[in-house]
Amino acid sequence: MPQHTQFVEQVIWQKEDAHAKLKDMDLEAGKLIRAAIAAIGQANNVTRNFATNAWGTFAYHYGLAELRNQFVGPHWRIDRSEGIESIVNDAKMLKVTFQNVDIAMGKDDPKPRSPKGAGAERACEGNLDLFPDYPVYVPVVAEKHELWSLMVDDSGNIELSRPVVLKGTFVCGERVFIADADDWMDVDRTPSYDAGGDAADDFEVEVSRKLSK
């Protein structure tokens, strides 16, 4: 058994090139971003009274739902096979899941926020062509869809990547960079009012003594 996985050189699609790649996959960056918006927007409502895993849970549920809201139609359908919730494009043999990760758009491959099991490993079998020497511990099923994950971190960085599961975590053979947090969370969260700012308060209130009294 090899100690180190030998894989084909990682392919990274930078943001400026992502459009063409996504178009080829019947996907759109804007719609993927909207799924991330829904995920983080809902997850940000979590307060300290929620369970510790609430952030990821909310992000996952709303991110996945919005992913389906955005894409399910002529090209994409809902898929729940083998316990993996996703959207599937049968014509292109593609499957896209939603995944919370530690850091997206980074130098290193994004890591899932929770360890991946055999189900995820099976789901990634369609990606094994990226890794010729990859050790396989679960039965391989023929005709697998290529699995891609919309990977979103809690800062708002987004990428669409094609992982395999190795020792409970991801190794990505191909990564499409969608957006940095700064690209779309472009509003500062500091108080924006100051007394000398842009408020309207220069109203003239003229009061004068009448001459007759």
């Binding site: 927007g41 924006s192 209130v205």
Partner: protein
Amino acid sequence: MFNPNRLSLARKRRRLTGKGLSELCGLTPVTISRLEKGLNEPELESLERMACALRYPIDFFYGDDIEDIPAEAVSFRSLKKMSAKEREAAIAAGGLGLLVSDWVGERFNLPEVDFPVLDLSDPEAAAVAARQYWGLGEKPIGNMIKLLESKGVRVFSLAEQTKHVDAYSFWRDDVPFAFLNNFKTPEHSIFDCCHELGHLLLHRHQGPKHHRGAEYEANKFSSAFLMPRNDVIAHMPRFVTVDDIIKKKSRWRVSAMALAYRLRDVDVISDWQYRSICIELNRRDYRKSEPVGVEREASVIWKKVLSQLWLERITKEDLASDIGIPFDELENLLFGITQEEVLHSYSGSRRGLRLVS
């Protein structure tokens, strides 16, 4: 000549029933009732006892009729929770406000009324139209009372010490009046002020009795006027948390709850988020108070009037006496603005002026 109308008003202001007043001044309830109906003239001694019990100057009871503000013309938002005494006292304060306004109006030039004529039933559209008419664009309003006063509204405060009275407004001879309860948080008062502007603009010609949706419309107007849609969208993060609301509410000087409501209105947050945010704000005590609040607004007109009177060596006590109302009632109506405070702001611009006790 004794004026029964004024006795009735003074009694209502002190939140007394006829029986309550009779117990305080040692007259029978029947006597009080007959006096208020104008069936009897009071003996001087009886009048003195009533005046003492009511803490009103005797001269007050000899003035002309005080204009009645029809209860139907006044819209109270918490009407169901209000007692009759609270309602009557708040309305009676309006009568005293008119006395003060008339006194000041005879002696001072005040801003002319400059209101748009709106033929719009949609509160959001009306808010946009009013902003356009006054050239406010999408800017937050830095001082709501100042804006209203600059457009000709006579604004008085109500010190009703009850949260059941919000505010009310009415038109009298083409001059708009607004009475605001200072017992609420500054944010709530600002919202009330704008709510009354909504009534004055939207419901001016609907007669004294507002239709059932009037309160809802005035609230919508206030929300849209204070928090213009585009400004809200531009200044809020796309993912709004409770902390964001607390940080940003000071821009529009509204309560956290009011901002959350507006965010749902303009689709920045979903119904689900709105519910979650309300629950969390409630947990943090933002439903009943505003822990990080803004400064309370006060009238600019009354400050200027008091300032001028001070220069003429006329104190607030003199003013109350000249109008013939108790000093505390005048204080309540004029936002508790003190002439010392006026003098302080004045001494900054005029050298050599000092407070002489």
